[in-house]
């Protein structure tokens, strides 16, 4: 990492301002908010994966003392006819470029005709306490007529089978194809070909705080306030305003402290809308706090893709063509569209030069929990398929996997590099900066280098121990549009107040944006207030997902500050009786260049700028010191990383011990190295959990078999190794700070790196693990079979 400039806060490992409340137990999560006369909600959820709702009898539930309301789907439909959702679709530029077909079945707030997955909400109870609400929920009599469950996405695409959404006439609710070059010809001419099936299983973010929503309606002003554990307050406001038929200005959405999101909280859920709707109906605040069991069976899952990938390559291991057809099992609904699946397609070839490529995808409905983005959002699946393929090429030719990567990587000198496909924003994909081979070398060196490892591996094998080295690489488009907004204001006391459309779930945004603002204004971070995740702060916002907030909000802050700075300097020039060009921002004020004692403070400027009598503005200047900017990045900026792992596999127990783990990562200019490392290590831990421990499993009837944290295993401190991080820093030319996104990256490569390491360790057994997760049982079986 380049040395931080001592006169700047960007680049410094500044400790987090958020910590003080969180360390003292003074964080305020939705479950901590209590309002007078508040009711508590509990849901009746489907015990079956696929069934027709014959009847819902609420009589016994309604009779429970303390129950204020019991409501099922049919009655809700009468009270609240469906309102079209306002999901942001892909831009016209994408739609006209990429051959595609998309159906978008819209999930009702409560199931009416059918239930489509175990956990789908059928009825809701409001009561004086959560205990009473749950008691009453148990007394709701639901008569369901079982339908065959659609569980296997590959079966589901065959004609004549059971349909999840009959009106569509198919379970394929989305499809697209992209291609470049001449795949047919190049594949036919390739001296070597191999074809494999890669399955990336279903897992998800599982934040430690489950979801929650609290709605309170103020009849006096006909307005609604919603607190939700969401990553997208403005999107929720937009939808709530539609459901409630209120102008957006009378709906306020706040995400208070949020206990992790990772994408799972990155869209609007039925409960986010139903709870406020009911709060208005009953005239009392209503709070719903999801419990962990509910979370696992109704908050969105992710991954779950099956790739059939064929690669053609020459005798040197150079890739000549790739054809990939894949299926994504999106579960019962597809709340956030085709973006994740499209991500998989365009991230497939990652850091490698592949001139002939054809990828086609089908998004398939099944009777499982709906799928939505989770940290990595389609890229772990792509990286897994690609990086396993690289190792298979290496094995076929007897060449080191690292060498195959080296031979195929796009060199740093080729940047900016146009890969010849459109991104999901419709823009041509251009790798804007980065040095992939350098990252590869550094990561491999950090685990001791290939040659030294091979020697250790050989010696260990002689003693019956199985060591493996695995590499996983990826590229990631980050900071996607369409926009983010920031309002920058200078308060009368000269302090900066910045409101933005991003929402934090633990990333430390208040800290890093204060650093950025401090540099933009030559003030100290402690002179900056950052207000996020509140629709009252800024009129239009997009929210936090897709590794985008550092990029998009910093851009918005930069340009809003530019506008405001012009005004500040003009006022200061008037006060100091000099020209604007002679002025600079310095130490919380404006001073004459070279004569720092000739200065006015920002407070003096703010007072001069105020509206009213005796102001100090130049003639004709509008009063006030506040500017808003909506930054529309032209397209994404590309990060990359190489993960390298050395594992020891115990073939008796199937245990995989991660001996060394190194990550060489490039996310452009680093705002705060301490927090950056936190993001990368945290992401990598989730990726390691994904490949080795976590997973949603369903039985043939669509029953979720992993409905508790005893079955869905999250990694603990003893499961995750220490990691060595190597930072490369290729600034992005696409935004004023040169930053790139970092939120997701860590989670992308671990499945590939670990799978490759395990396969390398078990090479004597000729084992291929082309599916995730890799469990101890599979390892023991594979070693025994040999």
């Amino acid at each position: 990492m380049s040395a931080a400039r001592p006169d700047r806060f960007v680049g410094q490992p500044i400790l987090r301002r958020e910590d003080h409340r969180l360390l003292r137990g003074q964080g305020q999560y939705v479950a901590d908010l209590v309002l007078p006369r508040m009711l508590h909600a509990a849901f009746v959820r489907s015990p079956m994966a696929h069934a027709r709702i014959k009847s819902v009898d609420l009589a016994r539930a309604k009779a429970v003392p303390g129950v204020a309301l019991a409501l099922a789907g049919a009655e809700l439909m009468r009270l609240l006819p469906p309102v079209p959702d306002t999901q942001l679709s892909l831009p016209a530029k994408w739609k006209t470029t990429v051959q595609h077909k998309i159906h978008n079945p819209q999930q009702p707030l409560l199931a009416t005709d059918k239930v489509r997955h175990v956990g789908e909400a059928i009825a809701v109870i409001l009561a004086e306490s959560r205990y009473v609400a749950e008691d009453a929920a148990e007394l709701v009599d639901v008569e369901l007529e079982t339908l065959p469950a659609v569980i296997d996405a590959e079966q589901a695409v065959k004609p004549g089978g059971t349909l999840v959404h009959e009106q569509l006439g198919t379970n394929v609710i989305g499809e697209f194809a992209i291609a470049k070059g001449d795949v047919e010809g190049a594949m036919a001419r390739a001296p070597h070909r191999l074809k494999r099936r890669f399955y990336h299983h279903r897992y998800s973010g599982v934040p430690m705080e489950c979801r929650g929503v609290l709605g309170v309606y103020d009849q006096r002003t006909d307005s609604m306030t919603i607190w939700s554990s969401t990553q997208v307050v403005h999107w929720l406001r937009r939808e709530a305003s539609g459901i409630l038929d209120l102008p957006e200005g009378r709906v306020r959405v706040v995400a208070p402290d949020v206990g992790g999101g990772f994408g799972v909280k990155g869209h609007v859920y039925p409960e986010d809308l139903l709870i406020p709707f009911l709060a208005r109906r009953v005239g009392r605040p209503v709070r719903w706090i999801e419990d962990r069991h509910e979370h696992l069976m109704c908050s969105t899952h992710s991954r779950d893709q099956t790739h059939e990938l064929e690669v053609g390559f020459d005798g040197e291991g150079r890739i000549l063509a790739i054809r990939d057809r894949f299926i994504a099992d999106c579960g019962a609904w597809n709340p956030i569209g085709i973006g994740v699946v499209y991500n998989s397609a365009v991230h497939l070839t990652g850091p490698y030069k592949v001139d002939n490529l054809a990828v086609s995808a089908r998004v398939v409905s099944t009777n499982k929990v709906p799928s939505a983005p989770y940290r990595g959002a389609g890229r772990p699946e792509a990286s897994f398929a690609m990086e396993r393929t690289i190792d298979l090429i290496a094995a076929t030719l007897g060449i080191e996997p690292a060498e195959i990567r080296r031979r195929n990587m796009i060199p740093g000198s080729a940047m900016p590099y146009r890969i010849g496909l459109p991104y999901r924003d419709g823009e041509p994909i251009v790798y804007d900066s980065g040095d992939f081979p350098a990252g590869l070398e550094k990561a491999v060196a950090a685990v001791g280098g290939v040659a030294a490892f091979r020697e250790r591996q050989r010696a260990a094998r002689e003693k019956g121990r199985y060591l493996g080295l695995g590499i996983g690489c990826y590229t990631e488009g980050t900071g996607v549009g369409p926009f983010e907004g920031a309002s920058v204001r200078i308060e009368p006391n000269g302090k900066l107040h910045v409101a933005g459309g991003a929402c934090a779930q633990g990333q430390g945004m208040e800290t890093i944006f204060a650093q950025i603002v401090a540099d933009a204004w030559a003030v100290k971070p402690e002179d900056v207030t950052i207000q996020l995740a509140d629709t009252a702060g800024i009129a239009i916002g997009f929210g936090t997902m897709a590794s985008r907030s550092t990029v998009t909000l910093s851009g918005a802050i930069h340009y809003a500050s530019d506008k405001l700075r012009k005004k500040v300097l003009s006022i200061a020039a008037q006060l100091l009786e000099c020209a604007v060009v002679d002025l600079e921002l310095r130490d919380g004020g404006v001073s004459i260049v070279g004569v720092p004692e000739r200065r006015v403070s920002l407070a003096q400027v703010a007072r001069a700028a105020r509206p009213g009598w005796d102001h100090g503005r130049p003639a004709g200047m509008d009063p006030g010191l506040e500017e808003t900017h909506y930054f529309e990045p032209q397209t994404v900026t590309w990060t990359n990383a190489t993960h390298a792992a050395i594992v020891e596999v115990d073939i008796q127990t199937g245990r995989v011990k991660i001996e060394k783990y190194a990550i060489a990562h490039d996310c452009g200019v680093v705002v705060n190295p301490l927090l950056l490392e936190g993001q990368i290590v945290g992401g990598a831990a989730q990726g390691l959990g994904g490949i080795l421990m976590e997973g949603y499993t369903y039985d043939a009837e669509g029953q979720l078999l992993t409905g508790s944290l005893m079955d869905y295993l999250l990694p603990t401190a003893s499961d995750i190794p220490d990691m060595e991080l190597i930072h490369l820093e290729s600034p992005s030319p696409l935004n004023p700070l040169g930053v790139k996104g970092v939120g997701e990256g860590g989670a992308i490569a671990p499945p590939a790196a670990i799978a490759n390491a395990i396969c390398d360790a078990l090479a004597p057994f000729k084992v291929e693990f082309n599916q995730t997760p890799i469990t101890p049982e599979q390892i023991v079986r594979a070693a025994k079979q040999f």
Partner: protein, 160 residues
């Protein structure tokens, strides 16, 4: 529903009285009846450890205990970790080492660490990892939590 039971207990050195149904969970009693919302419910089935409190001096999961079991007990929660408003060395270390992100597991993590360092004041890294595996963190990847506990252990030993 059944009759309410009287509960008398001490939390963070302060005597409290309350009434609760026999089935009421201790975590709900602490959070909702006493307003001590620093203790978090992350799974409500005893796995994640976010709800960890000191129960008569030992770490316990308040989501799988009943409030009535706490009658006569002495409990310490995250709100009782600071002394005279000053951060405890563990809290300081978590801040310094960036041992928290979303903060949801943090109260349980700190209380579990407090209990652990009482039993094992100078632990090895492996011992820290094993002990801290009692609480699940989804954000940090644990690296900085392990560093924070190690660093706090050193500071706490130096202190009288």
């Amino acid at each position: 529903m059944s009759d309410l039971i009287d509960i008398r207990l001490t939390v963070n050195g302060v005597a409290h009285e309350g009434r609760a149904e026999p089935r009421r969970l201790l975590v709900d009693f602490l959070r909702e009846d006493l307003g001590l919302t620093g203790t978090h419910a992350g799974c409500e089935h005893g796995i994640c450890g976010a709800c960890t409190v000191l129960f008569n001096g030992e770490a316990a999961r308040s989501c799988i205990m009943l409030a009535v079991q706490a009658n006569g007990a002495e409990i310490r929660t995250i709100e009782g970790l600071t002394e005279d408003g000053r951060l405890h060395p563990l809290q300081e270390a978590f801040h310094r080492e960036h041992g928290l992100q979303c903060g949801f597991c943090t109260p349980g993590m700190l209380i579990a660490a407090l209990d652990f360092l009482r039993v094992n004041p100078s632990p090895s890294e492996e011992e820290i990892r094993e002990a801290m595996s009692a609480v699940i963190c989804r954000c940090t990847g644990y690296r900085n939590i392990v560093r924070a506990v190690a660093s706090a252990a050193q500071k706490m030993q130096v202190k009288p």
